[in-house]
Amino acid sequence: MAKSKQTKKAKAEPSKSKSQATKSRSWLWKVLAVLFVFVFAWLIYLDAQVRYKFEGKRWALPAQVLARPLELFEGQALNIDNLEQELALLNYAKKAQLSAPGTYKRSANQVQIFRRAHRTIDGSQQALRLSLRIEGDVITSLSTDDAKGQGIYTIEPYKIGGIYPKTREERELIAYENIPPGLVSALLSTEDRDFFTHFGIAPLAIARAMYSNVMAGRVVQGGSTLTQQLVKNFYLTRERSIVRKINEAFMALMLEWHYSKEDILETYVNDIYLGQSGNTAVHGFAMASRFYFARNLENLELEQHALLVGLLKGPSFYDPRRHPKRATKRRNLVLSLMHEQNWISRDAMLKAQSKELGVTKKPSFKSNRYPAFIDLVKRQLREDYDTEDLSSDGLRIYTTLDPQLQQNLESAIAREIKTLDKRKRGTGKLETGAVITAVGTGEVLAIMGGRDPRYQGFNRALDADRAVGSLIKPAIYLAALEQPEQFQLATKITDEPFVLEFENGDTWTPSNFDSETHGEVALVEALANSYNLAAARLGLQLGMDRVRESLRRLGVNEALNPYPSLLLGAQAMTPFDVAKFYQTIASNGFNMPLRAIREVTDHQGNLLSRYHFNVEQVISPEASYLLQSGMQEVMRAGTGRSAYRTLPTQLLTAGKTGTTNDFRDSWFAGFSGDYLGVFWLGNDQNESIGLTGSSGALRLWTRFMSSVPQYPLATPKPSDIDVLWFDQDSWNQTHAECDNAQPLPIWGDAQKFEWQACQKRTGGIKSWLRSWLQ
């Protein structure tokens, strides 16, 4: 029994171990099955990831913001030094001979330029040689080797910045068919010689690398294919681990399985990191070519392709600007590898190795060199585009910024503000905001958001909402001059003190700047000398509604101060708002939007939006002509006259000064035939700076205007306007020959003026000349 039990037991043992083995095998199968499912799911996930990113929008491409292209034609106003500055900005090299596109030559008043090929909104522009003669700030002759030309040529627009995604990557795309063969051979011979034959990973290369590393006792060679490198950069993190390495291998296989070699190579060429511009990363060979050589990738030489490929190993370590020796050594190694693999001959290698690196001294672009202007561009674009699209679709934004004028503006402010620092009152830092526009088109040409042009913060030109003081007065005088039967420039108005009582018992007692009163004065005299009492009385006589309506028509859209203090400028506006207001006056009564953008295209050059010139007549040409004449008197004999200590007399201008209570704000807005400039000066704490419009902002304006070639104000005289002569003291009508006589435009003949006999006649040539001029 016991035996039998034992036997049973003995019999039971193997069966138990068998069931245990079965059990463990089944567990193993289960685990394996789970593992298989897990791996399968993981592979499906990886595959989805590979395909999703590769087939979707591969990169967030920043929008490129471009300045206006410089136009060259006979008769164009152009200062030769400013031209050279712009060429330097565009990385044109000054040479004795025009050897290649991107070079120029200057001798006395002649400039020869080998223009680079580029694209403008009017299409592709070929590289060509231009020869200019510049005399008296005008192009007097222009010749070129282009037989079909229309006599007008552009230089490529300067890239003034970008609208970046959060990753701050700078990239330009190139299609596979446009990748230069020299770059491909340099890339393959250095990074992956079997690229066109392997299937994503190259076991032989890995073995070769392992052998080299073991022999050297450290990592000296990598075995990654281009596909693996792309996977690493495109999909994965920089972490070094076995799991990542395995993922990389699988994803490389999948990439190769789904996509062609050409697709993979194109993506690699556009994706790879090749340098750093400030806080912006430079990606892709096309952008790197611009960054290091200021040239298109297609136009590079063999040794330049080799240098870019050499940088792949370490863009910072081999930075050709900071470490030219290391970079040269690395470039020459790439060239040797190309020769070893029979891509180039020995002679070609030796010749290329003997060349200089050829990188430009400075990067061809700096991210956001003009932050205040880019800020304006972004605000105007936001009306039509999503922020996401702006920083990811690679849009090309053609703007109106004139780099020459911007440079002049920056220099004028830098130079003048130092002097004003010494004269100002108070401890607050003197700050400024300025806007320059083209009188005829409403294009914004230059802008300053503060005294430091590179500061990316508070943009005072667009956001400093400050009381405008007497800048408001032209709106009052316009409202008057629109009623010619009642008001002309020579009409007498009263500059006497008064007290205005409100219903609640409050009173308003305005006074003149110098606390003096002037009795009966001509309207033009009150405007020129900025008499407060005369302006306030006139405004009240006309009615606040009429003044407000006149402000509205001039383009002031802000909520207006409901009280009479509006008449003396208790109305906050930004320099940009003031520019809109004065633009209407400068353009002779036509309201035109201030535009910072001309056109937007996608990255292939297809037009997306065009911002057309638009105009609406809001003031009659006659009233506008009278107002401009009055504002010319401000410059000739009024509060703006100190400008002519610097400006040439031929440059007729019109303008207005503005000063606010306790000298907190100093304003000046004025224009010539070409440019309108609005300048504000003050401090961010809204404290007194002790400067008037004349002693502060006018100086900045004058410095800027004197540095720019331009035409004087020359508004055609409407046929209903006659020019009569008036005595400058009494403002009675008089003879043109009288010594103290001065001409004033008069609209219609409804008003009769008091006549004054001549004090003293000046006969002869002078009198004849005067009547001839009249």
Binding site: N79, Q150, I152, N588, Q632, P716, P743
Partner: protein, 148 residues
């Protein structure tokens, strides 16, 4: 005799000097008349006077560069081929080169009229009228305003 001769010589010299001075002054006068001070491009000069008071109201437009006419021709061709976007772009380029040239605005007006944008055309014609530098430009702008 010799004294009288000497006196004559002095007189002749004085007369020659007076004549030379007269010729010089006449040249100076002609030069002053011919160089009307208002139409030259001005910049980067220093001066210590404000503009002459009678210098104003006699101004005329600067010369129109030939490139502007070339652009206007191209724009007219584009308009004839019904490429209105291209025509506007060319005209706005011409406008940037010569912003006070009345003809550019007349052409812009014609283009907007072709686009059936009567309101915009009207304001372009008004701008052309306000900038008309001679009677023919004024007449053309007035005609365009009447016809639109």
């Amino acid at each position: 005799m010799s004294e009288a001769n000497g006196g004559n010589k002095i007189l002749v010299k004085i007369m020659a000097t007076v004549k030379a001075a007269f010729v010089f002054l006449a040249c100076l006068f002609i030069w002053a008349c011919s160089s009307a001070p208002t139409h030259t491009l001005v910049a980067k000069q220093e001066s210590a006077h404000s503009p002459a008071k009678d210098q104003r109201y006699t101004t005329k437009q600067p010369n129109i560069p030939s490139a502007v006419y070339a652009l206007i021709d191209q724009a007219q061709q584009a308009r004839e081929q019904d490429q209105m976007g291209g025509a506007l772009s060319l005209l706005e380029r011409a406008q940037r080169l010569a912003p006070n040239f009345s003809v550019v605005y007349l052409e812009l007006g014609h283009t907007y009229l072709a686009l059936n944008n009567h309101q915009r055309a009207k304001h372009m014609y008004l701008r052309a009228l306000s900038l008309a530098a001679n009677s023919s430009e004024r007449r053309n702008a007035q005609l365009a305003l009447q016809e639109q």
